[in-house]
Symmetry: C2
Subunit: 347 residues, 2 copies
């Protein structure tokens, strides 16, 4: 069980390799990306997705720009790499991690005195970011694993797995660490309409690691709780403010139903997901295009004249959260995110 | 606004016409059915669906069998019609309404003394059943309309509309009657995975009547409740026992979330849906094939090795139900289905 590396540097070929997430689960396709232009396309088309994975992709993107830049003069070289980095940065302006990964590598090479040195520094920093991300997921995994009982059936939503990170995963990292520690865990994966990251990606990466996974439609989750099949809900997070957890649309429904059935509701997320400056009302929920809901293959399943409301995320209030699992420890209810830094409340 | 007749007899052509529900919403296609064999195929392929509609289809099916039977002798004629009726009956063995409609027409023609008389009696009984069904929906509609405030936003799930009945609908009949009485009502239709009866059928028939409808994914419903967008949930029912309401998978989730948000949860269903003999534990929830979940057009969106759990229905306990709207009156909480017959509790 290695939690499926999502993207990695191919030293021999001098290329960035990644799993094309749009073709899963039907086709496991590794793309060898040899230009920043191709990487821009990959991120735009969601071939690479998931906030932590985008941070790593941004970092490797700058390393790739440095690797292929033909300039012989260090100043011209750095200028070209910076220009490529800016093209990469705007591909998904809402993903803070992308810019964060790019900036860390740019900063590292800013004072390089030779092109060879700049290339080595860029690649080294990108590799460091990827390893840090994986280490962070393992730390989350271990801390979360301690929370789970042996013989646990978890419900998860969307993909907070290896494919959303450099590897291992946040919520699915907890599943992997628990199983590695000898606990028996099986997973119900909600398909996660409209883009099906649950059925396509979560099921795929768990199957690949030999983990027992059952796909259900999102609306069946509550009924499984009623039948006492689910022991806990475990999801990732896109942003955690003082008052709510933002995550894939549907997360809130699971939190409400978990509370009604007296089932724990766990969130697994790195500290980089915490946003202490904002509250729910300050964050705009992204509404995506209607075609995600209306198109089913080549079929149109919604009449043209009908409205469609397609929120990408929802907000779950902190009082429905049993615990947030971070790489530094577990925040138990009542969750107070100030304790993330002071760590007073973290056990 | 006429609530889209779903199936009807074409007197000139001597055929049973129906809307093919598998091709909606992309194509409005009326099939002229001239043989029992074609009708058997139509029901098997879900071209006609919905319990009340199946009762009407069974009745018209026997009338069609009588209409096309070439026999000249009354005994041979009745024997042929009965044989056709049995072929029709087993098409969907779980739909009680189908057999009920068939039996009513068979009984009507059993003592006919001529073929002409039998054909007239069969068609007359089938037309009577269709009209009774429509009248029942209008009665449900009017009684339900009184429950709704002006300027109401309803959430519905699956299709409890004209397409599931002979016309008008049960839950959507309430919407139509409320609007006809001058109330302003708009509807959020949950798409209803996996077969999308909400986005394909409910949205289509409401648009056709000029009713404001917005399609959402099933898992977005709770978040709309949190945003105070939904005033009430209104669904149909497949079977109502003493303790629970069986309806399309996802109904229970809406009931739990409605309770959490203090929103009324209404069920609209004819008295024929009530089953006083059974309790939840006595009824087996149909599990349908995995391909409904794994196939998206030509794509396979679930890995072959993953399990799939595909319940067609769920059960909502009576204590989550605010009221059940029947053609004879409204059963308010605490709902006691014994009062359906005694009508003591019906206001």
């Amino acid at each position: 069980m290695n939690g499926t590396a999502t993207l990695w540097w191919n030293k021999e070929a001098g290329s960035l390799c990644y799993i094309d997430q749009t073709s899963l689960p039907e086709k496991y396709r590794v793309v060898e990306c040899r230009s920043v232009g191709r990487l821009v396309k990959a991120i735009g088309r969601l071939e690479i997705r998931g906030a932590p994975a985008l941070g790593v992709a941004g970092a490797y993107g700058v390393a790739l720009a440095a690797h292929v830049c033909p300039k012989k003069n260090i100043d011209a070289f750095l200028s070209d790499v910076s220009r490529d980095a800016e093209i990469l940065r705007v591909t998904r302006p809402t993903a803070v991690n992308l810019g964060w990964g790019i900036d860390r590598v740019l900063q590292k090479i800013a004072s390089a005195d030779s092109i060879t040195s700049a290339r080595l520094l860029a690649l080294g920093e990108a590799e460091a970011i990827a390893h840090e991300d994986t280490a962070c997921c393992h730390a989350i995994g271990q801390k979360g694993a301690d929370l789970l009982h042996d013989k646990t059936t978890l419900l998860t939503h969307c993909n907070a797995g290896a494919l959303a990170c450099s590897s291992w995963g946040t919520a699915l990292g907890v599943v992997r660490s628990a199983i590695e520690s000898g606990k028996k865990v099986n997973v119900f994966a909600c398909e996660t309409r409209p883009l099906l990251q649950g059925s396509r990606l979560t099921a795929w990466e768990l199957i690949r690691d030999g983990i027992d996974v059952t796909v259900i439609t999102d609306s069946a989750a509550a009924y499984l709780m009623r039948k006492h099949i689910i022991d806990a809900v475990l999801v990732g997070a896109d942003r955690i403010t003082r008052d709510v957890v933002f995550n894939k649309i549907g997360t809130y429904m699971h939190a409400v139903c978990a509370r009604y059935h007296d089932i724990p509701f766990y969130v697994a997320a790195p500290l980089s997901t915490f946003d202490k400056q904002k509250r729910e009302q300050d964050v705009i929920i992204e509404e995506r295009n209607r075609e995600e809901v209306t198109r089913m293959g080549i079929r149109c399943v919604v009449p043209d004249a009908a409205r469609v409301k397609n929120y990408a995320f929802d907000a779950t209030p902190m009082d429905l959260v049993t615990a947030i699992i971070t790489e530094r420890g577990v925040l138990h209810a009542p969750v107070n995110i100030d304790s993330v830094l002071s760590m007073k409340n973290i056990r």
